[in-house]
Structure formats: structure tokens, C-alpha cells
């Protein structure tokens, strides 16, 4: 198969470009079909659903081949929704939300056409031999900053970069839609309200945006000097997500932007379905996956711990009657393992006898859903429990102010990570860091400002480090980071960049501005013998950094 890779990648690029152009047509076609659903009678609805389902099947089967995995994912969701609608009849005619949800998915599909994965053929260069680049997997979020002129735009542009946002400034609101079309995916828009003393232009641009099927959902944050009820009300009516009055602290703005752009970035819920009836399990799976959850089905309770360990579900849906063992026995067995004592277990069964239901709950079930269950009921029942489970778990593992891991869990992670790398040749770096002269910040500007500084550092760490790195707040202004697959030099390089980025952030308090710096000590596990030793070494290096004048990264001495 000896063809020049360039020939192939050129040809592939050409095919991808052709395909990309057609996604819009497909989207228009689908949207037109969805619109016809409402008000149509059952027979016609069935035909339309079939047509949508077939069209989506095609898109699902082609999207990722052309580098649009998002198109495949959303098309598959749409197809499943239609199949579900056709099969169970549960939505036909009754559920007004059905076509709305379908339409939402369709819009997401169109938006996904902006996220093309990198072309093939150049893969070898992209596979990192050593440490992967910063914030892998999460691309920078793109911001549009609409501000006619002035320092605000430049300031936002420069500072947002530190927090993982790529800000692009566009000149005049009238050009908004054109610019959006040229820029592909935009995560949020930051805009002023007054341009050249004209309050109307921004309004007009936003109104126009709201009518555009592709871009109407982009969150908008208003940044303005106008502080009056009429302006705020007008903003709310335009669907503005946040209204901030200048002067705005960048940390507050980043908080708001994090919040309004988070939506798509939450991890899907993971649900384990234990049911020996294949078709019922498949149905449950379809319903939950159509709602964006990840599922795994097992028909055999004997291997349940394998499924639990591999899939690490956040909820278990358990059939009450299975061959070999009864649901409540299985629940009791699962509960015996300490790490699964808290996982929500929901029984799903045709058992209508209340007393039997209660006895099942006594053995460790959290809820009892009676089959047949309405899909929306099942979805919300699962969603509520998983959300609560996540919250509870994060209270146990995380620091409430920053959302980073707390002292205890960080130490535990260090132990388990070291146990893991001891069995391999993998390198692991440990970093201790501390905010310089933090007491002065608190004393001069108050604790509220001090907290903001800590939160900013936490956010910067999260955005600059990879998903695999474990970040902990060890208490006060002290932090620690465990970096798998990283050696001493790589960790120093990364933290030098973080140190520099943090020192450039401007904090505002009492109408003054100030900068804060950090010091870091870096150690590599292979140079030390135990978790305690590596963390002591990093602490010593941190101490040396402080001693040498702060605002620097120091390597631990090798023992």
C-alpha cells in the first residue's frame, strides 16, 4: 500500500471540504421535516419520523469518516429518538417536547459541523512521544468580543487567554453574523451595548442572532457602563445570560464565562443496566442514551463486579427477578463492597406489590420504578439520583471553594498513583506550590479578595494542566499537583509557564490593581523511594524557591 501520504491527505481534505458544505443542506432538510411533525396526524408523523430516521442513519454512518464525530454522535441520537418514537408510540401526538428535543439535537448537529477533527495522514506528528501539550482534549473556548474600540476589548483579549479562552475582537455589531460564519464555532459572545453613542446597534445585532437557527443559542454576556433598569430589562428580553457593569473584575468575568459555557462539557452520566431480558434492557438503554447518558448492559449478575470496576457506573438499574439471584440479594452483595456502598441502586420491575417493593429497598435499593415506565419519568428519575450522587461524592473528595481535590484525597491519589507507576517505567512528577505573600493580600484587601486570588489560581491550574493531572488544594494558599507521564524537566517547563501566566493576571480591589506570584517545588518520583519522600522533596524545593526570592520554579535535589 505504498501511496504517497500527501496524495491521500490532499484528496481526503478535498472530500472533507465537499462533505462539510453539504451538512448545512442536510440540516435544512431535517429541520423542515421536524417542523412538519407538529400538527400532523399519527400516520403522517410515522412517515416523517421514518424519513428523519433514515436521513440521520446516513449522516451517522458518514460524519466521522469525514472528520465530524459530532455529526455522527448527534445524528445517531436523532435516529434513536425517532426509532424510539416509532416503536413505543410514547411520544406520538402527546409529547409536545419531542419535536423540540429533536430540533435541539438537529441544531447541535449543525453546530458540530464546525468541529472537524484533524485530518489523517499527519497523525504521527501529533502523537506526543513525551508529555502531551497543555490542556489536551479540551480545546480553547472561543469568545467573540464586540466592542467598538477602547482598552476594554484589548484587556479582555489578553487576560482571557490566561484562562483558556481565545478571544477574538470583532469591530462592529452589524458584522456579527458574517464574522460568526467565518469563524466556525464560538462558545460565547461578550458585548458592550453602546457603539458610537448608539444604543440600538447591539440590540439589532443580537435580535438578528436570535433568529438565526444555527447561532441563536450562543450565550451572550453584556459588559457595559449602562446601569439602569430599562437596559437590564431589555437585555433579559434578548436572552442575555449575564449583565455586568464596568469596571469588571476579570476573575468575575471568567467565573461567568465558565458558567455560561459549561453546558456541553459535563461528563455524560454512566448507568449500568442489569436485566436478563435482552429486549427490555435494550429499550432502557436506548431511552437513556437518547437522553445523552452512557450505558452498559449486563444480563449476567455473576460478573457484576467486573462491570462495576471497568465501567464505574454512577447508578445501577436492577431488574428484580433474574435467573440465579434475586435483585435485592444482588443489591446487598454490591453494598458489601465499601467503594459501592454509596452508589444509587434503582430497581426496575413489574412487581406491583408494595410490601415486596419495600423489602427490596431494605436490602440497599434507593428507589423502585414499576415497569412499564414512561421514558421521561425514567430519564428524570435517573438524572436526579446521579446528580445528587455526583454532588455527594464531590463533597467528600473536593475542596468546596475551588472544586479541586482536598488534602486527604490528594494524598490518597499520590499513594495510588505511585503504586501504579512503581510497576512500570512511567515517570511521575509531583509539584508543591504556594502563593507568594498571600498574607499581605488578605491583610491589604480583605479575605474576599484573597479568596478570589485562590480561585483564580485554581482555575488557571485546571485550564493549563491536562485532564490526567490531579490538582489538589492542600489548605490555605498551598496547592499540589500530581502529573502522570511527566518527568522533572517537563513538569518544570509546564509550571514555569503557569507561574508566568499567573503573574500577568491583574486583580482589582479597592479601585487599585495588583499582581500576585507563585513559587513551585518540583520532584520526580523515580528519584525518591516513597510517596512521603517525593512530597517532602517537593516541599523542600518549594522552600528553596521561597528562600531564593519567590516567583520561581525550583527542582528538588536528587537523593
Amino acid at each position: 500500500m505504498g501511496v504517497e501520504p500527501d496524495v491521500i491527505s490532499d484528496k481526503m481534505a478535498q472530500l472533507r471540504a465537499q462533505y462539510a458544505l453539504k451538512i448545512d443542506d442536510h440540516g435544512n432538510h431535517l429541520q423542515a421535516l421536524i417542523k412538519r411533525l407538529d400538527g400532523a396526524d399519527a400516520a403522517v408523523r410515522g412517515e416523517i419520523l421514518k424519513e428523519i430516521s433514515d436521513a440521520c442513519h446516513k449522516l451517522a454512518g458518514s460524519g466521522a469518516t469525514f472528520g465530524f464525530p459530532g455529526v455522527t454522535a448527534h445524528a445517531r441520537d436523532m435516529e434513536q429518538m425517532c426509532i424510539e418514537g416509532l416503536k413505543t408510540d410514547f411520544d406520538l401526538g402527546q409529547d409536545q417536547g419531542f419535536s423540540q428535543r429533536l430540533e435541539d439535537l438537529c441544531l447541535r448537529l449543525r453546530q458540530a459541523s464546525a468541529h472537524q477533527s484533524p485530518p489523517p495522514g499527519k497523525a504521527p506528528e501529533n502523537i506526543p512521544s513525551s508529555r502531551p501539550q497543555l490542556h489536551d482534549s479540551t480545546r480553547k473556548k472561543v469568545l467573540f468580543v464586540m466592542e467598538y474600540t477602547g482598552p476594554t476589548a484589548m484587556q479582555v483579549l489578553l487576560e482571557m487567554d490566561h484562562f483558556g479562552f481565545e478571544a477574538r475582537i470583532i469591530g462592529h455589531p452589524a458584522k456579527l453574523l458574517d464574522d460568526l460564519q467565518n469563524n466556525g464555532c464560538v462558545d460565547a459572545i461578550v458585548t458592550g451595548l453602546v457603539f458610537n453613542n448608539d444604543e440600538g446597534v447591539a440590540h439589532a445585532a443580537i435580535e438578528k442572532l436570535r433568529q438565526d437557527p444555527v447561532y441563536q443559542d450562543i450565550p451572550i454576556v453584556v459588559l457595559t457602563t449602562l446601569e439602569n433598569m430599562a437596559a437590564r430589562l431589555a437585555a433579559v428580553r434578548m436572552g442575555v445570560k449575564a449583565y455586568m457593569v464596568k469596571p469588571v473584575d476579570m476573575a468575575d468575568l471568567v467565573d461567568v464565562l465558565d458558567r455560561v459555557t459549561r453546558r456541553s462539557q459535563t461528563e455524560p452520566f454512566r448507568v449500568l443496566i442489569v436485566d436478563d431480558d435482552e429486549s427490555l434492557a435494550y429499550h432502557t438503554e436506548l431511552v437513556l442514551e437518547a437522553a445523552g447518558m452512557k450505558t452498559r448492559v449486563t444480563a449476567d449478575p455473576v460478573n457484576i463486579f467486573e462491570d462495576l470496576d471497568e465501567f464505574s457506573p454512577e447508578l445501577i438499574l436492577l431488574d428484580l427477578y433474574m435467573p440465579g439471584c434475586v435483585g435485592q440479594e444482588l443489591a446487598a452483595v454490591i453494598r458489601q463492597r465499601e467503594e459501592y456502598a454509596g452508589i444509587p441502586i434503582v430497581f426496575l420491575s413489574g412487581e406491583a406489590d408494595k410490601s415486596k417493593q419495600l423489602s427490596a429497598m431494605e436490602m440497599g435499593g434507593d428507589d423502585f420504578l414499576t415497569k412499564p415506565i414512561h421514558s421521561t419519568h425514567l430519564i428524570s428519575s435517573v438524572r436526579i439520583r446521579v446528580t445528587r450522587f455526583r454532588k455527594l461524592r464531590s463533597f467528600m473528595l473536593r475542596d468546596s471553594m475551588t472544586g479541586l481535590f482536598n488534602h486527604t484525597s490528594t494524598k490518597q491519589f499520590l499513594d495510588t498513583e505511585i503504586a501504579r507507576v512503581q510497576r512500570s517505567t512511567e515517570k511521575l512528577a509531583f509539584v508543591a506550590l504556594d502563593i507568594d505573600h498571600f498574607k499581605n493580600v488578605n491583610d491589604s484587601y480583605g479575605h474576599a479578595v484573597g479568596d478570589r486570588v485562590i480561585k483564580s489560581l485554581a482555575r488557571l491550574l485546571r485550564q493549563r494542566l491536562r485532564g490526567a493531572d490531579l490538582i489538589g488544594r492542600m489548605g490555605g494558599e498551598e496547592f499540589a499537583v500530581i502529573m502522570p507521564e511527566s518527568d522533572l524537566d517537563q513538569a518544570v517547563l509546564v509550571f514555569d509557564q503557569i507561574r508566568e501566566a499567573f503573574s500577568e493576571i491583574i486583580f482589582h480591589a479597592n479601585e487599585t490593581q495588583f499582581h500576585v506570584t507563585i513559587s513551585c517545588g518540583v520532584a520526580e518520583f523515580s528519584h525518591h523511594r516513597s510517596a512521603t519522600q517525593v512530597s517532602d522533596a517537593a516541599d523542600k524545593a518549594l522552600y528553596a524557591a521561597k528562600h531564593a526570592g519567590r516567583n520561581q520554579v525550583v527542582k528538588a535535589s536528587i537523593q
Binding site: 500500500m1 501511496v3 472530500l15 453539504k22 442513519h57 451517522a60 454512518g61 469518516t65 495522514g121 435482552e278
Partner: protein, 142 residues
Amino acid sequence: MSFAMVYGDAVMNKGELGKILYVEDDPDIQLVAKMALETIGRFSLSVCSSGQEAIDNAVGFAPDLILLDVMMPGMNGPATLTNLRAIDILHATPVIFMTANVMPVDVAHYKSLGAVDVISKPFDAVTLAQTVQEIWDRCHGR
């Protein structure tokens, strides 16, 4: 059910994979597959846009292997397969289904219809030829 049981031993003696009959109604997918199989894989390809077209062309082309999309308007993949099997020279030609439905239960179903394997869609254009070659090799006990 093993491959040999279904198709007899005739196929076991066949040589290299050269000619592939490819049946797919989506013109976009046709283009990528053409590139993947002709340019990268260096196979000789006959592309058909429908089951009927495949049946009309199959005898003249005498493929070594058939790649068949499952979901097509009119005659779908499984129906096309049945019709192709009725043609003398094709009764033992290995057929691979291509489909977006790759639940284990679906795969088992397609294999029970006589497919040697199933390639999931969306496929990776860079590795498609390799995948097809591997399936071919496996069919021939290599």
C-alpha cells in the same frame, strides 16, 4: 457456523484479493471508499449505487469480494445478498456488510445471513483497505 461450513471449500483455494464489488447508495461515502480502496488499497473497484445495479454488474465483473451497505432504498443489503447468492459464480464470494448498526445482536444477525464480517460505519478511510484485507486473510486461514 464457520465460514467453510457455509461456503464449502472452494473459496479456500482462492488467491489474492484483487477485485471488490462495492454497493453503496450514498455518493459521499462512495467517494471516500473509492479513495480508501483504490488509492490506498490498490484494489480494483466496481462501485454500484443500488442492489439492482450490483446484480446487473456482478457477473461481468466477477468480484473476489463484495462490500455491501445494509441500509439502501429499494433493495436493502440483506435482500441484495440473497439475490447475489442466487448467481452461480457468486454463491461462495465472501460478503462484508457495512452498517451503522453494530450492536452485537445486529452483527450476529448479519453473520447468520451469510456475511463473513461486518464493518462499522462511520469507517476510518485510512484503515479501511487494511481492514478489508485482514478479513480476506482471515477467511483464507492466513
